[in-house]
């Protein structure tokens, strides 16, 4: 990322999240966040991106790590979520640089770790360290005419069920099969699923949604066993719980842990919190009208196209709101219903990247709708 940002004459700083904050099952490697910014004394506009992706799911028919161009469509892991958005922002800054466009804001790119999973998102650390400035445009959203109403929280629990290894033939009575022992736990979780799914939120759903946004619990991964000749001694489950802003994290976590412990009986079971994103509360604020105008310029949306809705998908900006006290977060991105985000064939289009770049360039420009800029109007009042 540093190499890509350097030609834009941005000042780059790497900030590493201390390991004791993010250490959790499955997490390894440095958590290096990059701040790339320009300083000229103007108000700051933070441009937030996460650089991690989910793993490529089985079913890709092309190499997920090699961008495939199919006409206008660009296929690759992270193309829509959200490396394509980074490419769009760099394109906008490149155009501003080449044309010497006067900007209303100093851009501050925040290229962050651990949004897709993990215990401690990079932007949370930056927020807690006081490294965020100005207002923020979050690119982890959709390319739709949407006014963000907030989103659910999410946590993952890693559940380790320990058995006892033994030869599966002669010494089988000496072993304890961890996979078979985990079945009552899986059944208990499955029984909890429909109970949790009945809890709905007052957050407005997307216009095309079939009903209200609801909480959920998923068994997201199971790992265990190695070969037929061995009684498996360990099975590891990953549970993912999405909780509505109206719910309480501690209560939601306790509900699952209690169900697991009751089902486990005397089994040796560990339950570890391995990921957590707090809910994002209403991120509305004074910069939204100008951002909507910018989106209209880039994507061609009409004023009536815009609608306000929330999501059961999650964001790391709940932590940012908690750490900074700043509620307003602008949201955009490249997600569309046909983007296959988190699935084989994830894609975006060059048309959308260009439209997003134009939206950002307009928003950054000092010439664009100054009457809608809270900073410009404040200056005007000061000089009046």
């Amino acid at each position: 990322m540093h190499q890509i940002a350097a030609p834009l004459a941005l000042e780059c700083e790497r900030i590493i999240v201390p390991e004791e904050l993010w250490r959790a099952p499955g997490a390894c490697g440095r958590r290096t966040n990059l701040i790339a910014r320009r300083r000229s004394g103007r108000p700051v506009l933070g441009l937030y991106f996460h650089v991690d992706t989910v793993p490529a799911a089985p079913g890709w028919t092309t190499d997920p790590l090699q961008l495939t161009c199919e006409g206008d469509r660009l296929v690759g892991l992270g193309a829509a979520d959200m490396k394509g958005s980074i490419a769009a922002a760099l394109l906008a800054l490149r155009a501003a640089q080449q044309t010497g466009l006067s900007l209303a804001y100093d851009p501050m790119l925040l290229l962050c770790t651990d949004e897709e999973a993990g215990l401690y998102p990079g932007v949370r650390y930056l927020a807690e360290q006081g490294r965020l400035e100005g207002h923020i445009l979050n690119f982890n959203g959709s390319a739709m005419p949407r006014i963000w109403a907030g989103c659910f929280g999410l946590f993952t629990l890693t559940v380790r069920v320990h058995g006892k290894p033994a030869h599966a033939g002669e010494q089988r009575s000496a072993g304890v099969n961890a996979i078979e022992a985990a079945l009552p736990i899986l059944n208990a979780v499955a029984a909890l699923k429909p109970v949790i799914a009945q809890r709905t939120s007052a957050l407005p759903p997307a216009p095309q949604a079939s009903g209200p946004l609801a909480a959920s619990l998923d068994i997201s991964a199971i790992h265990g066993g190695q070969c037929g000749g061995q009684i498996p001694s360990l099975v590891e489950l990953l549970l993912c719980r999405r909780y509505a802003p109206e719910e309480d994290f501690i209560g939601a976590r306790s509900e699952i842990e209690t169900a697991i412990k009751q089902a486990a009986g005397s089994l040796d079971v560990e339950i570890i919190l391995s990921g957590h994103l707090a809910p994002t509360s209403d991120p509305g604020g004074p910069h939204w009208p100008r951002w909507q105008q910018a989106l209209s310029l880039g994507f061609g949306y009409a004023p009536d196209d815009f609608a306000r809705w929330g999501a059961s998908g999650c964001s790391d900006f709940g932590w940012v709101q908690q750490a900074t006290g700043l509620q307003e977060v602008l949201l955009t991105g490249l997600g569309k219903p046909d983007s296959c985000i988190h699935a084989p064939g994830e894609s975006t289009t060059l048309t959308d990247i260009v439209a997003l770049a134009k939206s950002l360039l307009a928003y950054l420009s000092a010439e664009f709708c100054p009457e809608l800029s809270p900073e410009a109007m404040t200056l005007k009042k000061d000089f009046a």
């Binding site: 890509i4 992706t53 090699q66 060059l350």
Partner: protein
């Protein structure tokens, strides 16, 4: 060609910037190629395990 509509909504300089985005759009594809080629999946390395064979 800078459209009058764009110039009206943002000014001539912005219109030039918007036109530059069209001219430079291939650089975005190149940047995206470079980023997609780096496996940043979580858990790390999982993507390489599911490459088509």
């Amino acid at each position: 060609m800078i459209s009058q509509d764009k110039a009206d909504r943002g000014g001539v300089n912005l219109a030039h910037g918007l036109a530059a985005i069209d001219r430079l759009s291939a650089t975005a594809v190149h940047d995206l190629q470079r980023m997609v080629a780096v496996d940043t999946s979580f858990p790390p390395g999982a993507a390489t395990m599911t490459l088509p064979t």
